[in-house]
Subunit: 197 residues, 2 copies
DNA sequence: TAGAACTAACTGATCGATCGATTATAGTGC
DNA sequence: GCACTATAATCGATCGATCAGTTAGTTCTA
């Protein structure tokens, strides 16, 4: 039964926003499609107009964070600037997106294990490509003497993790702007591996 | 039907080890008690000899990480040493335990949202008490001029997160000993917030 | 010392509930 | 009239937890 004035575009947005909120708050598996549908204002059967299956919905939400993050970061990592400038910009981009999209970030950071098959492969590839950008920038910095570190991959992961917690606590009405927070994290990253003078 | 030679002590250990592995690999909610029981070598009914309910089991696994972590860290944070020494030791303790107990760490880091009521309150209190130790040490370091940072809480969380990723990749047969990795992380933490000279 | 009584360590079956996904159908809007 | 946007009902399956019962191991007592 189609309600008066129903719009597929709006309903899709509601479904996605509801899924973001519920998956982030209680986890993918713990969110049943009946709850998702009810809170999106439709029935569970109607959900399948907007998603292939539940796992497809999860993957698309995660993609919604990972793809822009990777894109922004690829541009930064390949820019013709000093490694320190690039590392700062990588950190900023990471914190910014995690602050702008905390729900998607939280899902992307915790629900990889809910994915199977090709979807899992795809998300792992995005994650690995993203990490590789950080590694490359740090390697450049070590090579030109800006940075010093004993294990580039370990450090890249540690710094990415350092920038990741924002999604758990940032609020737009908090003490600092997201830009300030992003800068603080960038400062921490650069200071952490700056080579001794 | 009691099997010949069955031992409650051994069975309990198997249940806990199985739960650690499964909860960490696929998530708490996605791990059904029939699977847990089967892989522990008993039936789902027998599980209830070893846990109050599924959520109780989760909480006890998380407690198994959080309590020693908090204990070790309390001793460190209240020791009569310089803030830098204490921060290094906090980071080491964190990385060490996350490397020694990667499964419990992974669960503690991702499954808080599966808890409800008093259990959730308890775990949140442990987490908050733990964070407060880092904050206190960093505050001391800022006060005595060793450290410089604009927002102590933000930095404490960022540094804890920096040390947390180990549980995702450390393997005992890897390139570095856990002690070396712990030291690297401690170095990153101290360098990240050391005051300019 | 043997058997009864008890405790420990389970089992198969069941309960009430929910799960993700599908199907036939129906109202809406252009 | 047809594409869109839903619905109620249903399917086959699984969920966490409980219950009545069974076997193994230990202790007690006559």
């Amino acid at each position: 039964m189609r309600p008066v004035g129903a719009s597929g575009v709006e309903t899709r947005q509601r479904v996605e926003a509801t899924a973001l909120a519920l998956f982030a708050a209680q986890g993918f598996t713990a969110t049943g499609i009946r709850q998702l549908a009810r809170e999106a204002g439709i029935t569970s059967a109607a959900l399948y107009s907007y998603m292939g299956c539940k796992e497809d919905l999860l993957a698309s939400l995660m993609r919604g964070l990972m793809e822009p993050l990777l894109e922004r970061s690829q541009t930064i990592a390949t820019s013709d600037t000093q490694p320190e400038v690039r590392l700062r910009a990588l950190a900023r981009a990471h914190v910014r997106l995690h602050g702008e999209e905390p729900l998607a970030a939280r899902i992307a950071d915790t629900e990889l294990r809910a994915l199977t098959g090709d979807l899992l492969g795809e998300m792992l590839a995005l994650r690995d490509a993203y990490e590789a950008l950080w590694v490359a920038v740090i390697v450049d910095g070590v090579r030109d003497g800006t940075f010093a570190c004993a294990d580039t991959r370990l450090v890249a992961i540690a710094l990415i993790d350092l920038c990741t917690g924002v999604s758990g606590w940032y609020r737009p009405d908090g003490r600092h702007t997201l830009e300030t927070i992003a800068t603080m994290h960038a400062d921490l990253c650069v200071a952490a591996i700056r080579a001794p003078r």
